[in-house]
Amino acid sequence: MSTVDDTIAAVWRIESARIVASVARIVRDVGLAEELTQDALVAALERWPHDGIPDRPGAWLLTAARNRALDLLRRDRSLRTKLEQIGLDLEARQASTVPDFVDELDARARDVLKDDMLRLMFTACHPVLSLDARLALTLKLLGGMATAEIARAFLVPEATMAQRIVRAKRLLGESRVPFELPPPDELGQRLGAVLEAVYLIFNEGHTATAGAAWMRPALADEALRLGRILAELAPHEAEVHGLVALMELQASRMPARLDAAERPVLLLDQDRTRWDGVLVRRGLAALDRAAQLGQPRGAYLLQAEIAACHARAQRAELTDWRRIAALYGELAAVQPSPVVELNRAVAVGMADGPAAGLALVDALTREGRLDGYHWLPTVRGDLLLKLGRRHEARAEFERAAALTANAAERALLHARAHSAADT
């Protein structure tokens, strides 16, 4: 039912990140570790079709890659000297005696592996790399995706993506980025970079701003998988669970985001019975895990709490807007932004009435920081309409229509402007 190639691809997908991480511990170079792991894959592609697939394909690949790494260490005096200089020879030797992870792992060996995986994540999202490079390396090294797949997902030619990945690996080497966990004083910031990369990948998939639609959910799924892995690797970081919760809850709404005619449906108009119950439950469970840690709530956790308010409301009318408004207030304190403030205005408008919301929107308008952002007049139009100030509402919808570049949205706004004046 499945060819040897399919099986090899599946084994690669399951094992490659852990193998790259384990080999990187030996050679202390992520790019080199990835090449050695690729070499092991090539060997598997040559051998397995004839010899059959080994009982423990992951262990086979790991052993093959690790042997290549040790051979290289023996042959390459300069690499050995480099490792000795930084006092890592001993650790490299130890690494070669760590038992295969597919065997019954003792707790220590498992910790070593988790540690290696975390190092790999931190390295792939290292601040010397551009954001584009971080996303590409994360998908390549941790997702085990092929360069061609990543290129398709980001809508760039394969050669461009290959270049990006090669340059990123070279830059890590040239900048002497150590294969280490960040020092404690940098940990929070560096973890933030990892979370940012995962969430950007998710949004590439979730929002589908461009490109082949069928590739997009795959990216969202990949980000979810990376987030879930990260939550197992760093279970004591509340923001990790916050990000996972946020992604699970946003993904749970995917089935309700389009109507039968494939038109987008706004959150409050979605058929909530179509929300994915498994993902909703997982999202709420991730929030519980975060809450148990008793840490101050960061931006991901707060956004997840807001998403959870929607998830818990069985009907849109049951939404706890007061709580959402308070959460946006907290979010604005952690991550001040006029867009957060606009969202807070919407929530306040729902909780305390349109006049209260309008006061906040008007304050934002005076600040002028959202000039040119079509959601500002859209929200203002909504609130004015609720207050019965129809002509002003109409003017706001027209202004919003003039600001959006999206044709479907513009049509919708014109229609709203029209009906605001009519009724």
Partner: protein, 136 residues
């Protein structure tokens, strides 16, 4: 893509015999591997069919049939729900599933893909993309 790994019942699961320590450990270890790989969504063991019932529909009539039910091998004793990127990956994970009734025991698991969103809408992907684009 989601797949459900379904564990079929045996005489001992139907008798409510709890798995021994080593089997618990093996299943726990497997579930941990799934979780650490980010593919585990959900899973549970089911009590014997004697704790459950069936509803039989016959025309307008509904009849409650209390368990236990005879056809042991057709009954479900537990499930594990995973999310992976391909059928081959699901196959590879299922190959690693420990014998659910202990080493050496006769047992069977069954793996079934779940219907996905894209199995439903007949419209071309291009339309979907444009519509999604318009949401934003």
């Amino acid at each position: 893509m989601r797949f459900m790994i379904i564990v079929k019942a045996t005489a001992s699961t139907e008798a409510g015999v709890m798995p021994d320590e080593s089997l618990f450990a093996a299943m726990g270890d497997y579930n941990r591997q799934l979780a650490e790989a980010g593919v585990l969504l959900d899973g549970a063991g089911l009590k014997p069919s004697g704790h459950g019932w069936r509803i039989r529909y016959d025309g307008e009539e509904r009849r409650v049939l209390d368990g236990p039910f005879a056809e042991t091998k057709e009954l479900v004793a537990g499930y594990t729900l995973i999310q992976v990127s391909s059928r081959a990956e699901a196959l590879e994970w299922s190959r690693r599933f420990p014998n659910p009734h202990g080493p050496g025991a006769q047992a069977e698991i069954e793996v079934r893909p779940l219907y996905e969103l894209e199995d439903f809408p007949p419209s071309p992907a291009i339309d979907k993309m444009q519509a999604l684009r318009a949401t934003l």
